[in-house]
């Protein structure tokens, strides 16, 4: 099930979020940021926005620069949301592939949506995902997880649904001790009134707040933040050539 959205409004809001992330990360001067935000008033992009929705998931070429594609990613409740992809050139085999260790609560609903979404976000950067697979239980699984984090170039941890199953924080601790660059996403619940926060979720302890923490209200919010922030995160940690 997907919510109906006005194509032009969606594209404008999506790109506004992207430009804001570029601005905050120091990759876009303020003057250029406001020029780009103001440019949406001309409405020239409306036709492309409508084509993106009408022909999804077909590629839409943007003359001289590359292709765009509108896809649908997944919320943890089974819903879908639109997502705009700038399509990268095929990843050069000469570039070294990176591995990202992913830790999250092992629940079918989270697994089905989060893993599907993350694949779309990390693949354009040549990053393979390595899943923790199971909640920490057996001794061998623990060893396997330590080994997985050790051999990864970076880590991603999500705390959704971990209130009574805080294993993901142990994994965060292991990655911290091994000095691995990591993204830690913290579910903070929807902001609008009348929508209930998903239970069984704690918050990231204060002593972990120095790490790159992404607070999110839903997977749509999380996916945009990762997508817009990943290039700068990889640069900062020397993970891009």
């Amino acid at each position: 099930m997907s919510l109906s959205v006005e194509p032009a409004v969606f594209v404008r809001e999506f790109l506004t979020g992207f430009f804001e992330a570029q601005l905050v990360n120091g990759l876009l001067p303020t003057d250029e940021y406001y020029d780009l935000i103001a440019s949406f008033r001309d409405g020239l992009f409306t036709g492309i926005a409508e084509r993106l929705f009408a022909t999804s998931p077909n590629r839409i070429p943007v003359e001289g620069f590359g292709d765009l594609r509108l896809i649908y990613l997944r919320e943890f409740d089974g819903g879908e949301f639109p997502f705009l992809q700038g399509l990268a050139q095929p990843f050069s085999p000469q570039k070294r592939k990176l591995t990202c260790f992913v830790g999250h609560r092992f629940l079918p609903s989270i697994e089905r949506s989060l893993r599907f979404n993350l694949r779309h976000l990390f693949e354009p950067h040549g990053i393979d995902l390595c899943w923790s697979g199971y909640d920490l239980a057996a001794k061998d699984v623990f060893r396997e997880i330590v080994s997985g984090i050790k051999s990864a170039d970076l880590c991603f941890f999500d705390n959704l649904g971990t209130l009574n199953k805080p294993n993901v924080y142990i994994e965060v601790g292991i990655a911290h001790a091994l000095d691995k660059p990591m993204l830690v996403s913290e579910y903070s619940g929807p902001s609008s009134k009348g929508r209930r926060k998903i239970g069984d979720t704690g918050s990231v302890p204060s002593d972990l707040q120095g790490l790159l923490r992404i607070q999110y209200r839903g997977y749509q919010d999380l996916c945009q933040r990762i997508y817009f922030g990943l290039p700068a995160f990889l640069d900062r940690n020397g993970l891009r050539e």
Partner: protein, 77 residues
């Protein structure tokens, strides 16, 4: 009304004074040179104004530029 007329004639006299003074202190040749210089500075100003307008047009972004900026960022990963 009479008072008003008096005031306007006084203003006219005051405005006329510098013109007379200018004629007395400058020769015909210096006047010509001044006119040429003024014309030159006016044309320089016009060129500057045109340049600024051209720069403004060049820096004005369209929403298609915004889309291109986005595509370019992810195309060159």
């Amino acid at each position: 009304m009479a008072a008003k007329k008096k005031t306007s004639s006084t203003v006219k006299t005051l405005q006329a004074k510098p013109k007379v003074a200018a004629k007395r202190t400058t020769t015909k040749s210096t006047q010509g040179a001044k006119k040429v210089a003024a014309k030159r500075s006016r044309s320089k100003l016009m060129v500057l104004e045109e340049k600024t307008a051209a720069e403004k047009t060049a820096s004005k972004k369209t929403s298609l530029d915004a889309l291109r900026f986005f595509v370019k960022t992810y195309a060159n990963l």
